[in-house]
Structure formats: C-alpha cells, structure tokens
Symmetry: C2
Subunit: 552 residues, 2 copies
C-alpha cells in the first residue's frame, strides 16, 4: 500500500496545475518555464486608447509583481526554481484590436445590454520570450484577456514565472450575463466593501453587479428629489449611499468590466418608505408580521393609489439618471395580499375604481415600467411577476428565477429571457440557520448550505427545448444579508461565487475534481490581493490535487 | 393594526437592554443614568498587587473609553442623551480581595485545575457617583468582575454612560470548564489570530483554550529535542509555533484568565510524523484513504512498537515543559484498525509479544499517560478511549464527548469527569458542506449548521443522575479547520461560541428570546474591539428587541 500511496503523491505533487478561472473555451499550454522581465511592459497598439484600458493594464502589472503567489504544489515555488536558470524572459505584452474594430472605453462596452457585450479575446504567450499578444474586437475583450494573463504567473524568490509556456487561448463566454447580487438593506456595507467585491468579481470575469440596495428594513440610497427616504429610512446618516458614492461605485465597476443593475424592489419589501411617507404604505409594522409579510417588518406600497403609482414612477425616473446600465430591476417578489385586505385606503381605492387587486397591480406595473422604458431601460423582475401575477410586461422584460430552479421551465414557456438565480443552487446565505428570533432549532428555509460543487453542477438548460434554451441570459450567485455584514462578506462569497462565474462563462458539464485545484488557486490568489476567500480544504489537500477526493 | 404595531415598536425601542454576557447568577439593576468621569480611575486595594491584574485594569479602561458602542435601540445613543445633563458621575472603581484572601497573579489562578479555579466576584455600582467596587476571593474573580463592569457602558457624543444604575451583582460560574477548541493543523493560524481569539474568549468569560495543535495534515509545533517534526511536518517554515510563540500565547491567555490545554493527538491523526520518522508510522498515505482513515492522509503511530511508545512518552514529557496547564489532551479518537492489519511491522510486534492490538494500545496509553502524570498533568482523552477501547485510564482522566451528546450518559456511567464537546451541539464547522473533493452534492457529516440557539438550548445534565451530573466539568465549542482559515476565523466562531460560554457560566434553561438582544450587544461590542463577529439579524431587528421573533 505504501508504495502505491507514495506514487500517487509524487504524481499529484509535481503535476503543474493550469489554474485559469474561468476555464477558457480553447486553450493549449506547454511545459516550458518563462520568466517575467523586471522591466516587463504592457503596451496597447493604436490611437485613442481609452484611459480605463490603460489603467487596467497598469493594475495588471501591479498584480503580476504584487501577487507573490507561490504555486500550489508540495514544496511550493522551490519545486520550479531549478528551471529558472535556463528560462526565457518575457519583456512585453501587446494588446491590439482586430482590424476594423475601434476603441471605446471598457466601461461603455461593459454597460451595453448583455446581448451586445463582446468579451471574446485571443491570447498568445510564446515560449521563446518574444512578445505576448492579446487581440480582441473590443476593449472589453482585451480587458478579459488581461485578467486571464494575470492568472498565468507565480512568484518564488522574487522571480515571476509560468511553467506552462507556450500558451494559446481563444476565449469567449457561454452566456452574456454572469452576475452577483448583494443586499445592502438588511445590513449595510461600506463603499470600500463593495469595491473590494467588484475587484474580486472582475478577477473571475463576473460582468454584472445586481445591487439589491433597499428593502423593508432600511433605505440607504440617497435619491435626488427623494432624499427624505434615506434621511428617515437609512440605519444612520453614515449608512447611506450618496449620489457621489453611486457614481464612484458605478465607474469603479465599469473600469473593471462590470455593469451595475440597480434594484428598487416594489411594491413589496417597502415598509421602510413609511418612515418618510406613511400615507403610501399599507400595514406598516402589522403584527403578527408572519401574517402580513415574509419577513419583519410588514409594510407594502399602496399601489392601488394613483398618487403612489405616480410617486414610484417619478422615483424610478430619478434613479435611472444615477445608473447608466440598460437593466433596471423593479423587483416584484413576495407580495402579501393579507396586507391589503386590512388596509382601508387600498380597499377604498379598489372600490372607487372598480378594479381587483391584480388589475391595480397590473396598472401600477405598466405605469412604473413605462417610466423606465422612456429612459431606455429594460425592466428586470423576480419570477412571481410572470408566474404568480398576471401583469402586462414588455416582451423585453428579463426574469430572475429565484424560488426554485424547477420554475425555470415555466418562465421560459412564457417566452421571457431569464436569469438563473435559484435559491436551491445559488443562494450564498442558505444553511446558516434561521435568523428570526425565538426559534430554537430552526434552520434556514433554504437549507442546506449551497456548496460550490452544487452550484457548479447546475445545468442552465435542463428541461428546456432548444428554443427555450436561447432565452437563458446567464446566472448569478446571490447574498441576502439577514445574517451577513462586512464582517463575513468575503468568507461567505469567495471562492464559492466563482463557481457560477465559471459555469456561465465556460459552460456547464465541467469536471469538479479537476476544477477544485484551480479553485484553490483562485482562493489563494484572492487572499494575496486582500480578499478573505476561505479555505476549501486543508492546505495539505490544496498542495496535492486529487489526493483528498472522496475516491482517492 | 397600525396602532398596535406602532405601540410594539415604541415599547421595544425604548426598553433598555441589560446587555451583560454571560448573565450573572444574581443581578439587580436600576434605571438611572450614570456617566463615567474623563478622569475615571480603577484602583486595587492592598499590597503586592500582581502585574497582570494591574494590566487588566488598564485594558478595562481602554475598553471603557475605546469601545464607543452606542446602545442598540432605535435612535441609538441619542435616545439616552436627554438624561446626561442631570446624571451623576462615577470617578472610581475599587477592586479588593475579601478578608483573608491574598494576591496571586490572574495567570496562576487561571492555570489551576478546573475544580480549583475561583471565579466568583461581587460587583456594586452605586447610582450616586460614589465609588464602584468589585470584591472577590481571588484575582481571577476580580478579573471576571472587570469584564462584567466593561459591559455596562455605552458611548454617545463622547459621553460614556450606563442607563442601568444602580447595579449589584453576585456572580460565579455554574461550571469550572468553559472552553473553545481550535484546530491549527488542517490549516494554520498566525499567533495574532490566536491572541485576538483569546481576547474575545475572555470577554465572555471562557477560561479554557483547547489547542488541537497538530494532526495528520501538518505538525506546526516546534518541540525542543523533537524539532524535526515541525521542520518536516509544518506547511512551511513560516507556519510554525516556536517555543517563544507558545510562551507568548500561554502568557497572553493567562493574563486574560484563560488556561491553555494542549492536545497532541495519538496514536491516530499522526500521519505527518512519517515525514520525519517513517519508521514510526503505519500505512502512511495508504489508499483508498477512506479505508484506512477518517480523513486523508492515512497514517497512524505504530503503537505496538516499544520504540514508538518510548518516543511518544519522551515527546509528551518535552511538551509538558512548554505548557503550565494541569490538563494535557492525548487525543485517542478515530483509531483505524485496517491501517494496522496491513502493517507488517505492527503485525510482527504483536506476534513477537503475543499481544492483541487492544492490549498493545492499553500498554501504549498507560506508558504515555504515566509520562504526563509524573509531571503532574491530568490526561484528557476523546470519548473512544473509554467507550470503544478497553484501555486502563487513571480515574482522574477527563473525557471529551464529541461523537454525540447521546454518549454522555455512557461516559458518566464509567465514572469519568466529562467535558461537553458534542458534534451535534457544539461543532462550529458543521453545515458548511463536505470538504473532500469529487463530492458534488455532499454536505458535511454533521449537518446541519449548529445555530447559537441550538447550542444554547443544550442540557448539560440530560439523562444523568444527581451523582453523574457532578461529573460534568463543563463544555465548549470546537472549530475543526478543514474549511476554515484566518480568513473566516472570527465570522465562524463569533458570536456563536458565546452561547456555550453563557450556558456553562450562567447555567442551562435561559430564555432564547431575551438572550438574543444581549447577544447582539456582544457581537456589536466585539466589532468595536476589532473582532469580526457576524450579524445575527438585520440591524432593524438588532435595534428592536423581540420585533423579529418568529411569534412577534
């Protein structure tokens, strides 16, 4: 047995890990060592190079020389040191657009509608030390190539090197929408936490930040013309996102190839609006809360009231001016009808107009969505708006499937483009125990914990016809923050959220065993860059690919 | 409904939270506001005051003026500000020993055997501004009183105050052993992380650090005379605990009223010893590992070999010199017999001596435990040593029940003192998903996640007779670190581990609903002191005690 075992260790210990994440569509690698010259330069060919691409190239250099990540093998970088002596040296990486393409900022390319984003790139790293090249049809593609390039290198004893030269990569994403959702309403996250998260997202080519910014518990968004909402609804004056903060976050994201989709969840999840406008909210703080809402506190917009509809339409209009994204989520989840049955003003509105609650909801939705569409925004809604309620939606409306992956088929059958966000695969907060008080052994409604392996094994087109499959825009992990805060943001998100990033970039059906060593590399590299990604295994396993597999 | 709801909010929003944790045995509080004088002093009466008590008093002052924690109510400290004007001012806290008691260092009192630790104290905080007092029979009691005193105060607008004066507390722990176990072998934790954890432990009066320092994956302890184990078995030369590190940690703990119990787990969980002494280890790296060990890598001490027994006895002796604690854990969990059935040297030893494997294990245990006992140490073992194996143990041996709380009764029936450490109540790592690779939907063996509420609801004497109940020394939370590392240490431990700290100090049967607001206070205060305790609920709930209860 011992001999067998030792043989296994040697094999795994010295097999170089090709640690790119997400895995490129097509890749060829060699086994030559190539060193990075201390004078290494990244140049961009052509005129009118946008500033955010130049900044990205300079950040890439900082990562190359700053990561100081030793390769994850037994003996770490010392194993590779013997090959440094006769290794060729790389002094230049050149980026250039394909013939006919013209420069636009990474930001503007990232903020296009998902279907219009061009993220494809071609990367060549010769083994002989001659210049490496990244070519693409867009600056966004060049940016993705830079991200890939930075993952090829390790450090040992002040030598920056790769053991996999030459490298040729032809790459493009399987799906145009690869997101991450963060809830900043249950608990507040400073701008610095959001920026750090955006950096980590860009490292694994996530291109969509879905910002669930407000909810029933707090309203931290300062909206010009509607500032009383944050003044009275934020947890404190220091827990507010000002228009400057939003500009800062949106531009920081754009420079990193990420579009910011804001969500103003309506008409449910709006109890906090009562702090500024009690007249607009039905059943605020009604108890028992469980009868009137899925979460405390109860309170929903009186959408049957024309004044409320007009108010929200104007609020949406004001918010569209803050976010350049083509996408705007209006929410629409978990509407509780009991709340309206005890709300006299709503009952009076319905009686006066002779409408049912559903008809009033339809009118509210059409009015508020119209306010978005005149501003060139595409509405995004949670699944209930097409599966539970019978509201009129433009056929461009995108649908977030969250309750269960079993509902994907029904949404597709209605012909809407959809985004995978199912709680049974992509909720980062599941498995941490129920958060409502007075609940001794209660665990979370969406137990168990969603492991990276589980998310990674998701099939985006399960049960869909070829036609329905075309409706899949992509998918994302989500963090609802009833039990999360800046204190555990990194550990609960990373590296798990990288699993959906690869699933929706590289496509489904990849092998979990071969992914694990690459994911270790992602986590270790994130730590070197200041993101607290957790350990997925004992370090002993991280250094021995496969040795801790169930079947090893 | 609205009126009812608003009434609820007002009631909860302005009900002062008595936020002490763990809850004292006897406490009387008033509702007067008392401010802390900027010149506030802590003095210790008597001669020969130990330096670590003086240091503790000075740390307490730093917390009082540095915490800057606003009270957790709607409106935070501003709610209390109106009462500042006519509030009395406290300028002094005096500590003194009861008549007849004499000063010894907090450290030496903390390092006594659990049953000899005197942690009782009497705290009086008058409302009229006259000096507050803490009296006790030991410096350790005075130290616990200081910890309680520091939890009474909040800050608003540079005013340090309490809204609960006068306060009278008579307190002592229900159980003498209140621990936290950390595994530093699966993944390594720098000394600074351990010190920060020791600080947080002391804030909730945990008095025992159970240090599972080595295991099959790595050997980070540098032991004088046995340095090859760490040289060859640590993850790297920078991931080692030197004798200086150990002295540093032990004294840091002692000054904070914490004893450090080291665990050198034998004869299982020892594969890494093969890196330095292959001749001492059976089936190192045997595959499939699942046949030969509960975790990769396989590998266990050849305890049937007299040379190995002698080596471990000498190793234990060397380790006893590094740790002043009366307790020393020798492990004894998860011994795999298949490993020995394929190990020719072990089979040869057994044949040569005519002993069974169990008889050899008994001899090994007696020899190695004798090495501890001559040094005045009490052996501590995992439950298998009394429930699975038939080894001879001194009746002073303490037993850690880990497999299941259902095994507590069986251990008590054998007459051993026991420490509650059951995986079904106190394992902090459960519910995070299985960590072995190639395991798509696998969740952790001890799912689900152990919520603080679940741990808190544990009954330490369930099914025990009055006599057996006397054998319960206390209990602890435990963190096995297959999927933990410095990146998630604070969030996975805090504030959850505070639930067992209160259970074993205040005693069982406390109310979860009234505990939650106090636990929020613990978490918020920890954050102010630099420990990343997570949020247990949305901040909206943290500011409204009871409003987010399931039944509210």
């Amino acid at each position: 047995m011992k001999l067998v075992a030792l043989a296994v260790f040697l094999a795994t210990a010295y097999a170089p890990v090709q640690a790119l994440w997400p895995l490129p569509q097509h890749i060829e690698t060699g086994s030559s060592t190539l060193r990075l010259a201390p004078t290494f330069q990244i140049t961009v060919a052509g005129h009118g190079v946008p500033g955010d691409l130049v900044a990205a190239a300079s950040r890439t250099k900082q990562y190359l020389f700053g990561d100081k990540l030793e390769r994850l093998v037994v003996g770490r970088g010392a194993v590779d040191a013997p090959s440094f002596g006769h290794a060729k040296v790389l002094s230049r990486l050149t980026l250039s657009l394909e013939r006919g393409a013209s420069f636009a900022s990474v930001t503007s390319e990232a903020q296009k509608a998902p279907e219009d984003r061009d993220e494809a790139y071609h990367l060549v790293l010769p083994a002989d030390g001659s210049a490496a090249t990244i070519t693409a049809n867009s600056t966004l593609g060049l940016f993705r190539g830079l991200t890939t390039f930075s993952q090829l290198w390790y450090e040992h004893d002040n030598t920056i090197y790769t053991v996999s030269a030459p490298v040729t990569i032809q790459d493009a994403p399987a799906y145009p929408y690869r997101g991450l959702m963060l809830d900043t309403a249950r608990n507040y996250f400073p701008v610095s936490d959001i920026k750090r998260t955006l950096d980590a997202m860009s490292w694994v080519k996530i291109n969509q930040f879905h910002w669930h910014i407000v909810d029933s518990q707090s309203f931290p968004l300062e909206i010009p013309g509607f500032t009383d909402l944050a003044q009275k609804g934020a947890y404190s004056s220091s827990q507010v996102y000002t228009p400057n903060d939003v500009r800062d976050i949106v531009s920081y994201a754009g420079e990193r190839g990420i579009d910011v989709m804001i969500e103003i969840d309506t008409p449910g999840h709006t109890a906090i609006i009562a702090e500024a406008h009690p007249e607009y909210v039905a059943c605020p703080g009604a108890t028992p809360w469980a009868t009137y809402a899925n979460e405390p506190p109860a309170g929903q917009l009186r959408f049957a009231d024309a004044k409320v509809t007009d108010y929200i339409a104007k609020l949406f209009t004001a918010v569209t001016a803050m976010f350049p994204s083509k996408l705007f989520s209006t929410g629409g989840d978990e509407l509780n009808t009991n709340c309206y049955s005890i709300d006299e003003p709503t009952q009076a509105s319905l009686n006066a107009t002779g409408r049912t609650l559903e008809q009033a909801l339809d009118a509210f939705t059409q009015e508020t969505h119209k306010a978005l569409e005149v501003k060139g925004k595409t509405p995004v809604v949670w699944e209930e708006m097409v599966l539970v309620h019978n509201v009129t939606l433009s056929k461009e409306t995108k649908v977030l499937v969250w309750i269960s992956s079993a509902n994907v088929k029904a949404v597709a059958e209605k012909g809407f483009q959809l985004i995978h966000a199912a709680s049974d695969y992509f909720y980062l907060d599941c498995g941490g125990g129920g958060w409502v008080g007075n609940n001794p052994d209660g665990n979370s409604w969406c137990d168990p914990f969603k492991t990276w392996q589980h998310s990674y094994s998701f099939d985006p087109t399960a049960n869909l016809t070829a036609e329905e499959s075309k409706l899949v825009l992509g998918g994302q992990h989500l963090l609802w923050t009833e039990q999360s805060s800046p204190q555990n943001l990194d550990p609960i998100v990373w590296p798990r959220a990288a699993s959906s990033a690869e699933l929706f970039w590289s496509g489904p059906g990849l092998n979990i065993s071969t992914a694990l060593p690459r994911l270790h590399d992602v986590a270790y590299r994130m730590r070197q860059r200041g993101v607290n990604a957790i350990s997925l295994q004992p370090e002993w396993c991280a250094l021995r690919p496969g040795a801790c597999d169930l079947t090893a």
